[in-house]
Symmetry: C2
Subunit: 355 residues, 2 copies
Amino acid sequence: MAAHMHKTRRAPAPTIKTLAEITGYSIATISKALRESPVVAPVTRDLIFKAARDVGYQANARGMALRTGKSFQAAVLMPVTAARDYEWDGVEYTQILSGVSQALDGTDYRMSVHVIRDAADGAEAARRIVDQGLADGLIFSGILADDPRIDLLVDHHFPFVSMGRCRKDLDYAHVDIDNEWAAHAATARLIAGGHRRIALVNPERRFSYAMDRLDGFARAFREAGIAASADLIVEGDLSTHFGRQSVIDLLQAAEPPTAFVCINESTTLGVLSGLGSLGRQVGVDVDVIAYDDINVSAYFTPPITTFYQPIEVLGRTLGQFLLKRMEGEDPKALRQVFRPTLIERQPDNLGGRLV
Amino acid sequence: MAAHMHKTRRAPAPTIKTLAEITGYSIATISKALRESPVVAPVTRDLIFKAARDVGYQANARGMALRTGKSFQAAVLMPVTAARDYEWDGVEYTQILSGVSQALDGTDYRMSVHVIRDAADGAEAARRIVDQGLADGLIFSGILADDPRIDLLVDHHFPFVSMGRCRKDLDYAHVDIDNEWAAHAATARLIAGGHRRIALVNPERRFSYAMDRLDGFARAFREAGIAASADLIVEGDLSTHFGRQSVIDLLQAAEPPTAFVCINESTTLGVLSGLGSLGRQVGVDVDVIAYDDINVSAYFTPPITTFYQPIEVLGRTLGQFLLKRMEGEDPKALRQVFRPTLIERQPDNLGGRLV
DNA sequence: TGTCAAAATAAAAACGTTTTTATTTTTCTT
DNA sequence: AAGAAAAATAAAAACGTTTTTATTTTGACA
C-alpha cells in the first residue's frame, strides 16, 4: 500500500537559534545564559535552561570550536615501534589511555591519539598539533634527555604534560616514576642478597629515564663500596626480543651475571624466555627483579618480584594535570613523581644463597 | 638594556582571506581552487596553490568542520574493563590503534579514542557520537550476538566498521577473524593427537565470536564422531586471572582435561600460569593451543603453538574500510574475514602420546 | 513623576570555510 | 563586429557559536 515510504527525515538538531525562537530571547542572551554568565537575570537563565533541556539541546562543538579557536581535543602521542614480529609493544598504553580518558570524562574534551613511530615522528606530530591547533593540550611519554618536544611546547606556551622528565632545567608539568630510586632499590636488594655480577637491561641512553636508572644502579654499588658491574649493562629497545637476546648474549660472557634488573614487563618476559631456553631457573640459578606497570608479572612462570606502579594511575594524573594546564594553571604546581612499591613474589631467599 | 622585551607576536595563521588578498582573487575562487574544482581556470589554480605554499597555508579544520558539518574524526571505541589487579587488559588495542592510524595517515581524518567500560557504556558512547556528531565514522569491537550499536548505526546510516560480526542478517562493513574455523582447526588438531577431554576457555556467550568458537569446537568433535567434552567449556572475561583460575578449577574435576584451547594471549598466559603452579608441564602432561594476535606466545615458557593473525593488519583494514564507508561506499563491498595461520612451537608430538 | 544609573536584553560582527547565486569576461558563431 | 553561449570569477549567504557594542527596560532617588 504505502507507495513510496520515504525515509523519516530526522529533525535538525536544535541550536541556540531554536532556543531563541522558543523562548523569545535573542541568541546572545541564550548563549550567555547557557554559559551561566552573571549578566543574565537568574529567572531567564532558568527559563532558558529548561527550554534547552526540553528540546534536548546540545551545544554544537564545531560552532564553539570555530568561534573560540579551541579544538576541545586533548591529544596523546602513542609510540608504536612495532616492526614485524615485535608486536607486544607499548601494551601499557591501553592503561595510560584509560587513565587519561577517565580524567577527561565529563569535561568537554575528547581524547585524540596520534601514533608515532620514533622520536622524529613524535617531534613532527607535536609541531603539527601546535601549528594547526589540532588539540588544546598534549600528553606524551618516552622523554629524551634533551627532548625537542618540550622545548617546542614551552616556547609556544602550549599546554602539555609529559610522562617523564627531560634533563634540562625548564618549568613544565609532568608525571614520572622515580626511576633513579627504583633502579637503586632493585640493585641494592640484589647486592644485599650477595650478588655482585648484576646485569641491567636498560633502554637506550638518549631516553631520560635510562639515565635515571643508570644513576640509581651506580649509586647502589657505590653505597655498597663495590665496583659496579658496568660491563653487564645492555641497552636497546624495550621489546621482548631484546630482553631474550640480551640474556642469551650475557650468559655466555666470561663472567656471566647472576642476577638481572629488568626495565619493563615486555623485556622481562623476554629475559624469562631467554633463561628458560637456556635451562636456567629463576630463583635457583639466577635472580630477576623487574619493574612492572600493568601487573602482569604475577603470571609469569615463575612469578617475578617487581617494583609495581599501576600505570593507569599515572594516566589519570596526566589527564588531570592537563585539564588544569589548559585552564592556565602554573606548570610548577603540576608535578608528581611516583615511587613504585615492591611486590615480592619469588620464594626469595636472597641472602648469601648465590655466589 | 632592552627594557621590556615583549613576546614576539606570532603572525596569525594565513586563511583563504589572506590568499585572496595576496593573489587578488576572491575567497570563493580561492576555496574552489584549493579544492581543485574544475570551474576554476588551471592557470589561476596553479597560481593560488603557489601562493598557498609560499605562505604555508593550512586549511583551518574548525572552519571546514562548521561549514561542512563534518568533524574529521574517526572514532574508535576501546574497551577497558580493568578492575584493579586485572590490568593486562586490552593490550592488543595498541596494535589496532596503530593499524587504524596507519590507514588514516595522510588523510584529513584524526583518530579519537573513546574508552568504554562495558557493553552498555559502548552503546551509550555510540549514541553520543551519532547524536552529537562527535565523529564521521566509528570503529568498534567486542561485538555481541545481538549488538545494539550495529542496529543504531545501520538505522542512522552512520558510517562504521565493526571488528567482528553480529548474528543478525544486516548489511554492514566489517572485518573479522574466522573464529569458527580457528576453533575447529585447533580442536581437530588436538583430537587428531589423541585428546578426548579438551577444555575450551571461551568468552561469555553474549559475544558473537564466543558463539562462533563454540560452533567450531562442536564441529570438530562431530566430524570425528566423538561426543564433545562440553563439560569442559568455561566462559568468562578475557583476563589473565580468568585463564589461571579456569585451569585450577578444571584440573580438579573427576575427568580433567588433557588439553586446552585458549582464546587469546591474555588468558593463555593465565592458563600457563595455572598449569605451572600445579606443576603440570605443557607438552608433557598437557597440551595447549591458543589464538594470538600480538605474537607474544613465542616468549611464553614453553613457547605455545598458536593460530596467529597479526591484529595490526586488521586495524589497518578497519581504517581503510572506514575511509571508504565515509566516502559513501556500499558496506556490502567492505567485508573481510581473516584466517589465522598455524604456528607450531611446541616440541609437538601430538599423536597418541597422551591418553 | 522625571531623571539617571544599573540591569537586562538585543543587535551585529566575527571566527574560516563552502556553496549557491550573480556578475563579468572570454570565446565562438555568423 | 554583434550577439549568444560558455567560462571564469565575484558576491553573498550560511554553518553555530561567542563577544562586543548598542539598545531597551527597570529601579532608585529626588
